[in-house]
């Protein structure tokens, strides 16, 4: 069976989820050379309402272009977390923006305050999506850090390169911290499974 990896990036309109999807798809498809398909669903509102972008990657041609069972779910607000965590596979990864997501339905999740990092450390809340992209690059093996940086640089407006590069880095660092914090928890789970 061929390899297929399904990603959903979800939150509310205005959080930059569709741009995130495009950058991620470009990094995986153009810079890392895999098959990729990116779709989206959003309401008629420019801001607010729910919004999601989906990215499917594979080593062969992709038939069904939308995400099915999720290997990775990013939830940038509580509603999207509640709506979609049921679609995660058993070994799927849940990443939440802990600025807005207080109730995490499953134990095994990475809680990173993307929006707070963007607002406080980078002084621009709008780069929260790029911070999250940095975290995804660190927490998964689906995209190389080099590819994600190249894709971000190719898509962001001129003059914002440094800000966005910093945002990516901040995301990667935050992800490393989250990874360390979650190790004991994951280990204990593994012990439980054995006994």
């Amino acid at each position: 069976m061929s390899f297929r990896y399904d990603i959903r990036l979800s939150g509310s309109g205005g959080q930059g989820l569709i741009l995130m999807g495009i950058i991620l798809a470009e990094a995986i498809g153009i810079y890392d050379g895999k098959f990729v398909s990116q779709t989206q669903s959003y309401g008629p509102e420019a801001r607010g309402g729910s919004s999601k972008a989906e990215v499917v990657l594979s080593d062969t041609e992709i038939d069904y272009p939308k995400a099915m069972s999720l290997d990775l779910l990013l939830a940038m607000n509580q509603k999207s977390c509640d709506d979609y965590y049921m679609d995660l596979k058993n070994d799927g990864i849940l990443i939440v923006d802990s600025t807005f997501v207080n109730q995490v339905p499953i134990q095994k999740a990475f809680r990173i305050p993307f929006t707070r990092i963007a607002r406080e450390n980078l002084k621009r809340e709008m780069v929260a999506n790029i911070v999250a992209l940095g975290a995804i690059a660190k927490l998964t093996t689906i995209v190389t850090p080099k590819a994600i940086e190249a894709a971000v640089m190719a898509r962001v407006p001129k003059g914002t390169e440094k800000l966005n590069r910093d945002a990516l880095k901040a995301g990667m660092n935050a992800a490393m911290k989250a990874q360390k914090a979650s190790v004991p928890q994951m280990l204990s789970e593994r012990v439980d499974e054995d006994t």
Partner: protein
């Protein structure tokens, strides 16, 4: 060193339609923005001026359709793009393009309807509007891509068919395919067939603008090239002037049909996926064709003999390929994001014992492979 002309790009369906149109030689676009077709206008407003083409944002879709007919009569390959509500407004002038035999391409990115309906959600509910939206007995060519690559290729084919048969060609794309991004490689040096309308070779005073030919398609002179002729929406004689003589009306209407119907084989595009030994065949088009392929794959993994037939040509209806699977399969499933516009056609041509089942989804979301699998289990 030779310049590298092959590019790998992550493109939206709408963007691939633009690339295909430019490649086919489109040099005139008139339109009015509407979700989910806006990206086509947006991109062409940048790209057309770069190739000495013309982009006009019109006051509405009625005028847009009129403008592309005028541009085409003057010799430019022309296109417009819209969604259901705008497509409704284009119907009157679409009929004019049919009767005056003006080549042009109309993209309808389907969203939920009726009326303004669901601007950002997909549907496949304009299948019959594309066929019969404009009044009067007429043939029409309607094509339907299901991947970004097909958006590119089919747009080129649409322009070729428009030019070859002197007819409007409609590209029906759904919101999923219009907005979906996939990787495609475009090679500017690739040898792609581009067809340009046949122009008269006789001197202007000998030119008979609507004269019958073996192909049924008269030679077409550009306005401004010195060939004076009359263009009208009234039923006309071979010189283009209105006629009320039955012996002129009948051959004219029949020629309009004949020029399309004698070329069915050339117009029909689609794909058989594992249909040879299939007991169950799914017939689908647009984004749902992708769900169908996936469902067939998943079903085969479970030991069920399932295949899929993808229709890239919607009208004229792909009767021969459909009849083929009707003969070899016991069960046919037609999933559509409408209440059954193509399934009725499948039932119409079914002269076998094959049972035709439908899946009709009208909630603004795509039909999933699971939903098709569930239907397979239910009916087999």
């Amino acid at each position: 060193m030779k310049k590298k002309t092959k590019k790998e790009l992550l493109l939206q369906g709408n963007e691939a339609i633009v690339e295909g149109a430019l490649r086919a030689g489109c040099r005139f676009f008139a339109g009015y923005p509407i979700t989910p077709a806006t990206e086509i206008s947006e991109l062409l407003s940048v790209r057309l001026p770069q190739v000495d083409g013309t982009f006009i944002q019109m006051e509405d879709e009625i005028a847009s359709m009129g403008a592309i007919i005028g541009a085409s009569l003057a010799g430019a390959k022309s296109m417009t793009a819209t969604s259901g509500p705008g497509f409704s407004l284009m119907q009157e002038n679409l009929g004019y393009a049919v009767i005056a035999e003006v080549p042009c391409v109309i993209v309808d990115a389907m969203r939920g309807g009726p009326s303004t309906g669901l601007p950002t959600f997909p549907s496949q509910s304009d299948v019959m509007q594309a066929r019969w939206g404009t009044h009067g007995d007429h043939p029409i060519i309607v094509l339907c891509p299901s991947t970004v690559r097909e958006c590119y290729d089919i747009t080129i084919r649409a322009f070729n068919m428009a030019e070859k048969f002197r007819t409007p060609v409609i590209i029906l794309v759904d919101e999923v395919v219009a907005h979906m991004r996939e990787k495609i490689s475009i090679d500017e040096d690739e040898d792609i067939e581009i067809f340009n309308r046949v122009k008269p070779t006789v001197p202007p005073e000998w030119y008979i603008p609507y004269e019958d030919t073996p192909r049924g398609v008269p030679a077409m002179a550009n306005f401004g090239d010195g060939y004076r002729y009359h263009v009208t929406g009234l039923t006309h004689d071979i010189r283009g002037f209105p006629t009320s003589r039955p012996d002129e009306i009948d051959p004219f209407i029949r020629r309009l049909f004949r020029k399309i119907s004698q070329h069915f084989a050339e117009l029909h595009m689609g794909e058989f996926f594992e249909t040879d030994d299939a007991e169950i065949t799914i017939i689908a088009y647009g984004c749902v064709a992708r769900s169908a392929k996936r469902a067939a794959r998943d079903a085969r993994e479970r030991g069920l003999k399932v295949g899929a037939l993808k229709l890239n040509t919607i009208w004229p209806f792909m009767r021969t390929p459909v009849e083929k699977v009707l003969q070899t399969s016991k069960i046919i499933i037609v999933p559509e994001m409408n209440m059954g516009q193509i399934s009725r056609e499948v039932k119409r041509v079914n002269k076998t014992d094959a049972k035709v089942f439908t899946i009709n989804k009208v909630d603004g979301t795509i039909i999933t492979p699971e939903e098709i699998l569930r239907k397979i289990k239910e009916v087999r």
